[in-house]
Each structure stands twice: as structure tokens, then as C-alpha cells.
């Protein structure tokens, strides 16, 4: 049929646009300046801390927070592009780079938790016999015991790579498994394969019921997982809510918030998950 049904086809896109406009109205949020976009990591979000702190912040200030939890790399990249207003991550080396590049600014310590090396209870590589993380990794590699890595350039993965480097080991081979996934999934794989892994304590605690892995090494200073908050440089892009970002960062280091952080985790895990360290010097942590 060679009929031109042009009238209908002109009205259809118009109708679609109208519907879309309606949709936007129906589903629209508040005015942009009331929105603060916080970029953080999945593991931070998974601890549940933000589920407590963010509503507190919103009530106090009237801002509406959009928490975007993605991988560390993406969280920092988004913030650097100006697609977030404030970042809360735990990858000090990377963070310092971004600050040096003036993409992010006003880096302030917020809290830390720590990493632990977990593994099968039998501990075939005898990790529990040493106190230092680097030593433990050397033992694992020597024994050829399986190790599951995040493999995703997250804060955890970056720390892990630093430790391997310090141990002078190029981690490769059948015993070294890169999951490319989040902490929970990585622990799950380690659990299934009776392998060792480097995990943040919070995630380990959250998963502990499902795991037969035990904590074999803890307390070594390099294993500190330090969280900092950084504001996005308003010169970095259009529409950055600098005031909102600053307000959130200020909130994270405020005494009341720090107190809330200190007590977080007690009911759920039996012990607090984080140590609030706002205002302290990084070198002094863990003492």
C-alpha cells in the first residue's frame, strides 16, 4: 500500500513529547539546588552507615541527597567530572592524586575501618603465624594457596596490589583468582574455593554467617581502610552544587556525626564497624 499517512506520523512524535513532558513532571524531583549528589563506593553503601547518616543530614539541612554507589574508580571519576558534588571513598593514594590535579578539594579524614586477611580455617599457608600482611602474602604465594582478588581497581584491590608489590611478588598463576566483582561476591568465591582473600572487616562481618572462612590476620597498620570526604571543585563543571557538597562534607566531620559513626554497628555486628578520625593526622592513625 502506498498510502501516505502523514498526519498520524506528525502527531505521534508530538504526542510522545507531550507524554514525556508529562512523565518528567510526574516523576520529577525537587529543585536542583536542593539536590546533593554524593558519589561513594558500593562497600561503603553496603555497610549501611549511610542509611543512617544521610537521613540525618537531610533532616538537618533540608538537602536531598542522591547517593550513587559504584566502584571506587567510577566514584572518583564521576566526582572529578562534576557529576557529583561530594565524594566519600577510601582509596588514599588515588584521592591524593585527584586533589593534586585540583579536581577534588578539601580532603578531610572521616573514619577508618580495617581490612583483614581471611582464609580457610585449616590455614594451609600458615598465615596466622605472622603478624604482618606482607609476610602473610609471601607465605600464601610460597604455598601456592588459592587467593581471590577483587581485581576491579577498588580501594581494596589497590591496597592488595600495593601489598603484593611490597612483598616483591608478581601475583599471577592458577592460584591467583581475580573475581572482578564486589567484596561480597569475592568472599563468596573464596568461600567456595577454600581460598584466602583480603576483605574489609565490615563486609566480612556482614557475610560471616554464610562463610566458613576465618580471620587469620588483622591489626597490621597497612590494613587500615581510611575513608575521606572530598568536595568537588566547582570549576570542574556546570551545575555543581558546591554549597551542598560542602555542607555534606562538613556534616561528615561534625562531632555529632562522628559520635554516630563511633557507635554504628554495635547492634548488628556486636562491635562498632568504624573508628571516627576527623581532624587527626593520617600518619598517626592506627596507633
Amino acid at each position: 500500500m502506498r498510502k501516505k499517512l502523514s498526519l498520524i506520523y506528525f502527531t505521534a512524535p508530538i504526542a510522545a513529547l507531550a507524554l514525556f513532558a508529562l512523565a518528567t513532571l510526574v516523576l520529577a524531583g525537587e529543585a536542583p539546588q536542593r539536590n546533593v549528589i554524593l558519589s561513594t563506593t558500593t562497600s561503603t553503601q553496603d555497610t549501611g552507615l549511610l542509611d543512617v547518616l544521610v537521613p540525618l543530614f537531610e533532616k538537618q539541612t533540608g538537602y536531598s541527597v542522591k547517593t550513587i554507589s559504584v566502584g571506587t574508580g567510577q566514584a572518583l571519576a564521576l566526582a572529578a567530572k562534576g557529576d557529583a558534588d561530594v565524594a566519600l571513598v577510601h582509596a588514599p593514594t588515588l584521592e591524593k592524586q585527584y586533589v593534586a590535579d585540583r579536581k577534588l578539594m578539601n580532603r578531610r579524614l572521616v573514619m577508618y575501618n580495617d581490612f583483614v586477611i581471611v582464609g580457610p580455617k585449616e590455614d594451609p599457608a600458615r598465615v596466622a603465624s605472622v603478624k604482618k600482611a606482607v609476610e602473610a602474602l609471601k607465605l600464601i604465594e610460597k604455598a601456592g594457596a588459592r587467593f581471590v582478588s577483587r581485581g576491579d581497581n577498588s580501594g581494596t584491590h589497590i591496597l592488595e596490589k600495593t601489598l603484593w608489590k611490597q612483598a616483591g611478588i608478581d601475583a599471577k598463576g592458577a592460584w591467583y583468582i581475580e573475581s572482578g566483582q564486589g567484596m561480597g561476591a569475592t568472599l563468596g568465591i573464596a568461600n567456595e574455593r577454600n581460598a584466602y582473600a583480603l576483605a574489609d572487616r565490615a563486609t566480612y562481618l556482614a557475610f560471616t554467617k554464610r562463610l566458613v572462612l576465618a580471620v587469620l590476620l588483622e591489626g597490621d597498620k597497612p590494613l587500615l581502610n581510611i575513608y575521606s570526604v572530598m568536595e568537588v571543585n566547582p570549576a570542574g563543571g556546570p551545575r555543581i552544587n558546591a554549597a551542598g557538597g560542602k555542607a555534606f562534607a562538613d556534616f561528615m566531620v561534625a562531632p555529632a556525626t562522628q559520635a554516630a559513626i563511633k557507635s554504628f554497628g554495635r547492634e548488628k555486628f556486636g562491635r562498632p564497624l568504624f573508628v571516627p578520625v576527623a581532624g587527626m593526622k593520617e600518619e598517626n592513625l592506627g596507633e
Binding site: 498520524i8 512524535p13 507524554l19 516523576l27 524531583g29 542522591k66 547517593t67 554507589s69 557529576d83
Partner: protein
């Protein structure tokens, strides 16, 4: 197996226990995907009919594009829509990123080629002279379109169901453009990923079951309309 049973039990307690968060997540899923599907129908069906019934230079290219669009990976769509909607992007001034509207946009991009492509083939199953004959007994152009749609309603409703199914179940695009923000852009699929990532498999399974039930309910309704043979007409005396 215990895991699945846990999931079923959790699902019931969440739904019938009136867990507000689960209900709001479910409602948002329905709103976003429902709206996206509706817009896709408004755009996609006329496009499909146009491609089926007219000939113009470049038509085969357009059809090939539509067919390619039918298989677009949602996560790629999400990435591209994000690039546009980010503050740093050309449409950043609309402030749509990380909002349900952004999810609707991404889902429309996913669904409308499906709807258009299947509408195209459904109209191609019709006799090419049928339209002429209907005009020949006095149908106006809008009446003609309506009659052809009714005549092709079997494959056409399949197009609707495919469009809806494609977006209610997708997670990649919703995650990227929506951000899975609690209370704002968290839908059943993204919530399922979140919960299983946290290790809460019972909740994850529960959410998955709710999603399945939702999808089934919608498709049941559409199938009922599709398969209905009798149109209400008086029996001649």
C-alpha cells in the same frame, strides 16, 4: 533449595506484611516501565505502521536500524543516555540524571525499537490490499488504522508484551541512569542486584519473585486481550 523457600517466605512477608519500601520499589518499577512502554507504543507503533505500509528511499536502512535497535544491550543504552544526561553532557541542563525520568528515557530507547520492529512485521502479515478494500467501503484514515491494528492484534499485542518485558526486566540502564538511589530510583531489578551483592539472598529472591509476579500479571492481562476472539456484537435475530 532452602534458599528459594526462604525467598518465597520472605516475599510473602514483605508483600503482605506491607513493607513500605518494597511496595514503593514495586510501584516505582511499574510506573517507570509502564510509562516507558506507553511512550514506546505511541512512538513505536506508528513508526512500525509507517515502515510496513509505505515505501520511501532509505526505507530498508530504517528497517535495518529498527531491527538492530531491537537487540540493543540495555547497559550500553544506559551508558549512552548517561553521557547525554550527565551534568557534563549536552542535556545536563535538564537535571535529569539519577531521576526516574532518566530511567524512563533509557527504557524508551530500549523498548521502542522492539515495539516498532514487531509492529512492522505484524502489519506485514496483513494482506496488502486489505487497506485499500477498507477504504473502499468508506473507512477514514484513522478508522483504517484502527481496523488494521485490530486485525493485526495478535502480533501487535505480542509487540506490546515484548516491549514491556524488555524494560521491566532490565537492570543495566536503570542502574546507570538512575543510580539505584533509595527512595528515589530504586526499582525491583536494581534492588535485587543490590541485595544479592550484600549477600541478602532471601530478600533478593523475594524481590525477584515479586518482579516475576508483576510481569506475569501484566502479561496475563495483555494475553487475555490478545486471545479474545469474540467482539461484542448482537446476534442477528
Amino acid at each position: 533449595m532452602a534458599l528459594i523457600w526462604d525467598g518465597i517466605v520472605t516475599a510473602f512477608s514483605l508483600v503482605f506484611g506491607g513493607d513500605a519500601e518494597v511496595w514503593s520499589i514495586t510501584w516505582l518499577s511499574l510506573k517507570v516501565s509502564g510509562l516507558a512502554t506507553t511512550i514506546s507504543l505511541v512512538v513505536g507503533i506508528p513508526l512500525g505502521i509507517l515502515l510496513a505500509m509505505t515505501r520511501f528511499p532509505g526505507r530498508s536502512l530504517a528497517v535495518a536500524l529498527v531491527n538492530t535497535g531491537m537487540g540493543l544491550p540495555p547497559v550500553v543504552v544506559g551508558l549512552f543516555v548517561s553521557i547525554f544526561l550527565w551534568r557534563s553532557g549536552p542535556l545536563g541542563f535538564l537535571d535529569l540524571i539519577y531521576s526516574p525520568a532518566a530511567m524512563v528515557i533509557a527504557q524508551v530507547v530500549i523498548a521502542f525499537p522492539i515495539v516498532a520492529g514487531l509492529t512492522l512485521t505484524s502489519f506485514q502479515t496483513l494482506n496488502p490490499n486489505l487497506g485499500l478494500q477498507l477504504l473502499g467501503i468508506g473507512a477514514s484514515k484513522p478508522q483504517l488504522l484502527w481496523l488494521l491494528c485490530k486485525e493485526a492484534r495478535l502480533p501487535l499485542l505480542a509487540a506490546v508484551m515484548a516491549g514491556f518485558g524488555g524494560v521491566i526486566s532490565e537492570v543495566g540502564a536503570s542502574m546507570m541512569v538512575g543510580g539505584n538511589i533509595r527512595g528515589q530510583t530504586r526499582v525491583l531489578t536494581t534492588a535485587t542486584v543490590l541485595e544479592s551483592g550484600k549477600g541478602n539472598f532471601d530478600i533478593a529472591i523475594a524481590l525477584g519473585l515479586i518482579l516475576l509476579a508483576l510481569s506475569f500479571a501484566v502479561n496475563f492481562l495483555l494475553t487475555h486481550i490478545q486471545q479474545r476472539e469474540q467482539i461484542r456484537w448482537p446476534k442477528p435475530s
